[in-house]
């Protein structure tokens, strides 16, 4: 190999099937004789079901069956992150509501019909008589005395109350501090909006007792586990296949009622069942993200030392506790409260609150964007209070470089970091010092420019299983992989994780090629089918490259060692005298005598002449449980101009310097950052769920919910630094969420910086033109 495959931005091997339309996503797979399912969904956010009359619907053309909650014998959907010491309540979440509906979109019946159109016709014709109940959608309001109650067994709507740190110690620090800044921060609800809506199809073979479920999953092995638990089928009789999956962003982690219902209906009726949600249905029933109301304080000394962070978080859980929901505003949130800074005192009380809204769960970044935002927002507020340059304030508080372990006040041990290097690089790219002069000049001309600078680190590559157990995650967080080489030297790598757009088939092949010497084009990465692949916990938390990648690197190293010993045997040399380069083994001093990795593979399969004690074949498996999280970091900078007349915001430049260790495929890394940045910027500028007081979703289609579009963005300016993770076999860190984590406060702070001459100090996200304009009016009114 002339080019080093590790570090090369090669084209993705996923793409030929995707650019030609040949890829098969769940709803592209037809099943002979399948019926289509439609779900009758509640139009009310909170109501008692008085009666359901499906007689008219049952008589419509093509209708084969209609079932309500009382017909269905499925166990409730489990919550799989049980936070310890939090007084956690897990209310029953039935696949279909039979007594009370708790959010608009809650399922009450299913229709099975010959066609999708007929199923919808019949679903519309099912008559449900509801008695409306009082509604609450705001998590802070829902936690107050007298709020409407959702579940009898969740007193005061409080599902859990998680405390990190020592309240009294924190209060003492704050009481003694020179400066304390405070803010109520709204982390608005977001719609994950993977472009492929969710879909599920199921087929049951009564003779063998086997159920096959095709579904839009980020973690088919977890889906198998939960579908088995909910249906009662033994796990070895459930095969879950995640075919091509069109994005997830966390929304395809949970197990939803719909997957359970298609499975049940397929078993009940003995025919295949297909279901695919529409986008409107997706916005009502697929998990939402964020939804925090935070009360945050930051303490500092007069000379700019950050002394503490303290927050009370009301986290909206929606109507039921989704699969991983309790872990998001707690473990994945509070533990990040010091970010890249030397902050010694942290306190977080996170209160999970039930509301008459769609359940929330992990959405890209999941808890960490909400932490990074509050930290970075408060840094700018402290800078304002001290009349300091926000860049100088940050620099002063950055953790100094460390290469192997740094324990912070939240008890995490960061793996490696050189925050100031990334910080300096980004500032240089942005021309920060010059910008401040340009900004002042522009202001003289009546133009409002602003800059936001975010330094961040985050925890990902989830994570050690022992930690998972300690924090109540009802699963492990290791991954496994098998590297299987055929006699002709072609590689099949089977992984338990389930990538869905990340380009992992390419990245992981690059790791194997780099370790083992097979050409990258001879390596195929296979995923997504629980029968074909080894156990794995899934693709989320920026963990597939760090965890699965490590498993593959180690499996490859085992094979390489086997190959080295076998090559030595074949060349009648001492294994210690074998040298390896570019897929070829040779004897030291006699380079003419060589065995290629392909030669050795064939001989291992033939097993005609094996060393004593060596098994035949050329295949290795590896379970890999990471010893720690990985901690990517970096600095993002945004420059905006605000039109004070309309409140419109123009994002003029966006600079991102990220450090995810050595980059296996820089083009794929860049793509993750581009996409993550746009998602995070969109939270700052345009995305936000709006419910009315009755719990009706006002942003129920893309006409009202603002998905970011190409013309809102400049070309991004990317840079990197490279600080390897000390504990990872190839030093890499995750990069799937960094863009989303860093970009929201970056753009928010830039806008507020632009508006500061106008006296505007706070605006709830998203920063729509109308809200910016209103804030300017209010500030002017105060003048």
């Amino acid at each position: 190999m002339s080019t080093r495959i590790f570090g090369s931005g090669i084209k993705r091997r996923e793409d030929p099937r995707l650019i030609t339309g040949e890829a098969r996503y769940t709803d592209d797979i037809k099943l002979q004789g399948a019926l289509h399912m439609a779900v009758v969904r509640s139009p009310y956010a909170h109501a008692r079901i008085v009666s359901i009359d499906s007689s008219a619907a049952a008589g419509l053309p093509g209708v084969r069956a209609i079932f309500t909650g009382s017909d269905i014998d499925l166990a409730g959907l489990p919550t799989a992150w049980l936070i310890p010491d939090s007084d956690l309540k897990t209310p029953e979440h039935p696949a279909l509501a039979s007594d009370v509906v708790r959010y608009v979109g809650d399922g009450v019946a299913i229709v099975l019909a010959d066609s999708r159109y007929q199923a919808q016709d019949a679903a519309d014709a099912v008559m449900v008589d509801y008695e409306e109940l009082p509604v609450v959608v705001d998590p802070h309001e829902a936690a107050q005395a007298g709020a409407p109650q959702l579940h009898a067994d969740v007193e005061g709507n409080i599902a859990f109350r998680w405390v990190m740190g020592d309240r009294e110690a924190a209060d003492a620090v704050f009481a003694a501090a020179d400066v304390v800044v405070s803010e109520r921060i709204l982390q608005q609800r977001l719609l994950p909006t993977a472009m492929e809506p969710r879909a599920a199809s199921a087929q049951y073979n009564a003779a063998t007792g086997e159920l096959t479920l095709w579904c839009t999953s980020q973690n088919p092995h977890i889906h198998r586990f939960i579908v088995s638990a909910v249906t009662g089928l033994p796990e070895n009789k459930v095969r879950v296949i995640a075919p091509e999956v069109g994005g997830g962003f966390g929304s395809k982690i949970p197990c939803y009622p719909d997957e359970a219902l298609v499975s049940w209906a397929a078993m009940k009726l003995g025919v295949p069942i297909r279901w695919a949600e529409t986008r409107s249905e997706n916005y009502l029933t697929t998990i939402h993200g964020r939804d925090h109301v935070q009360f945050v304080d930051m303490a500092a000394s007069n000379d700019g030392k950050i002394l503490g962070v303290r927050a009370t978080v009301y986290a909206g859980m929606g109507a039921y506790l989704s699969t991983a929901a309790p872990g998001i505003p707690t473990i994945l949130h509070g533990l990040l409260y010091v970010g890249p800074y030397t902050i010694d005192n942290v306190f977080c009380e996170s209160i999970g609150v039930m509301t008459n809204a769609t359940p929330t769960d992990a959405y890209r970044g999941a808890g960490r964007p909400e932490a990074t935002f509050l930290l970075e927002r408060m840094m700018d507020k402290v800078a304002g209070a001290l009349d300091m340059d926000p860049v100088a304030l940050r620099r002063q508080n950055l953790i100094p470089p460390f290469a192997d372990g740094y324990e912070v006040a939240t008890t995490l041990i960061y793996d490696s970091g050189d925050y100031e290097a990334a910080f300096d690089k980004a500032l240089a790219m942005a021309g920060y010092d010059d910008f401040r002069a340009q900004q002042a000049q522009a202001l003289q001309e009546g133009r409002y420019l602003g800059i936001g600078v975010t330094a961040y680190t985050e925890m990902c590559g989830l994570g050690p299983s022992q930690v998972a157990g300690a924090v109540g995650f009802q699963g492990g967080l290791w991954e496994s992989a098998t590297v299987r080489v055929t006699p002709t030297g072609k590689v099949q790598a089977l992984i338990g994780a389930s990538p869905h757009g990340q380009g992992s088939e390419t990245t992981l092949a690059q790791i194997i090629s780099s370790e083992l010497g097979f050409p990258v084009d001879d390596i195929e990465v296979i995923h997504g089918d629980t029968t074909e692949t080894p156990m794995g916990w899934g693709t989320y938390g920026s963990r597939t490259t760090p965890v699965t990648g490590a498993a593959l690197a180690q499996a490859s190293r085992k094979l390489k060692e086997k190959a080295r010993v076998l090559a030595a045997h074949l060349m009648e040399a001492n294994p210690d005298d074998i040298e390896y380069a570019d897929g070829s083994f040779s004897v030291k001093g006699s380079p003419d005598q060589a065995q290629s990795i392909q030669d050795v593979t064939l001989m291992a399969h033939l097993a005609w002449n094996m060393p004593e004690g060596m098994d035949p074949g050329f295949e290795e498996s590896q379970f890999y449980d990471p010893p720690n999280f990985v901690y990517p970091f970096g600095t993002h900078i945004a420059i905006v101009e605000v039109d004070p007349v309309t409140g419109s915001i123009d994002l003029q430049r966006y600079i991102a310097v990220d450090d995810c260790g050595p980059q296996i495929n820089p083009e794929i890394v860049a793509g993750q950052i581009h996409g993550g940045v746009v998602q995070g910027v969109a939270q700052a500028l345009c995305e936000g769920v709006i419910y009315d007081d009755n719990g009706q979703l006002l942003t129920g289609t893309m006409l009202d919910y603002c998905m970011p579009k190409a013309d809102m963005f400049p070309n991004f300016e990317l840079g990197e630094t490279v600080t390897p993770s000390p504990h990872h076999p190839v030093g890499v860190k995750g990069v799937g969420e960094t863009g989303t984590i860093a970009s929201t406060p970056t753009v928010y702070n830039a806008v507020l910086d632009a508006l500061s001459p106008l006296g505007v100090a706070q605006i709830d996200m998203p920063l729509t033109a109308a809200k910016v304009w209103q804030a300017i009016q209010n500030a002017n009114g105060g003048n």
Binding site: K11, I19, A23, Y117
Partner: protein
Amino acid sequence: MNVSMTINGEAVSREVEARTLLVHFIREDLDLTGTKIGCDTSQCGACTIHVNGKIAKACTLLAAQADGADITTIEGLAENGEHHPMQTAFWENHGLQCGYCTPGMIMASAAFVRDNPGASEDDIRHYLEGNICRCTGYHNIVKAVKQVADAAAGGA
């Protein structure tokens, strides 16, 4: 009712319900599943195809309206086994991730560059308002389209 049209150069004729959307006709009746559905309201562009050479959102047309039309879907964009230049550019520039918006994105972009060789980056970004991508942040999509636009203008 009967609808007949030419799809990717092949004449097809089927009996359908009058209400059948063109996108369902293509996906379900013809099993050309490259054309995707990503919204209900004509915003996302995942279903973008060419109808008589013009881009169309197949979710917002009835199959009946396309009776007699000449239609190209993503499956028919390549010619003689060679990727269309826009397909090649998306691949070379990492202009896709999950791939779900990609068929519509490529169909829209191919028509745009055909009609606007030499289009600027701003033109491209504005034009793509009818196609939504959640993965790429558009950066590499714009780069891919620009590459083809430049080549079409003779800049290659």
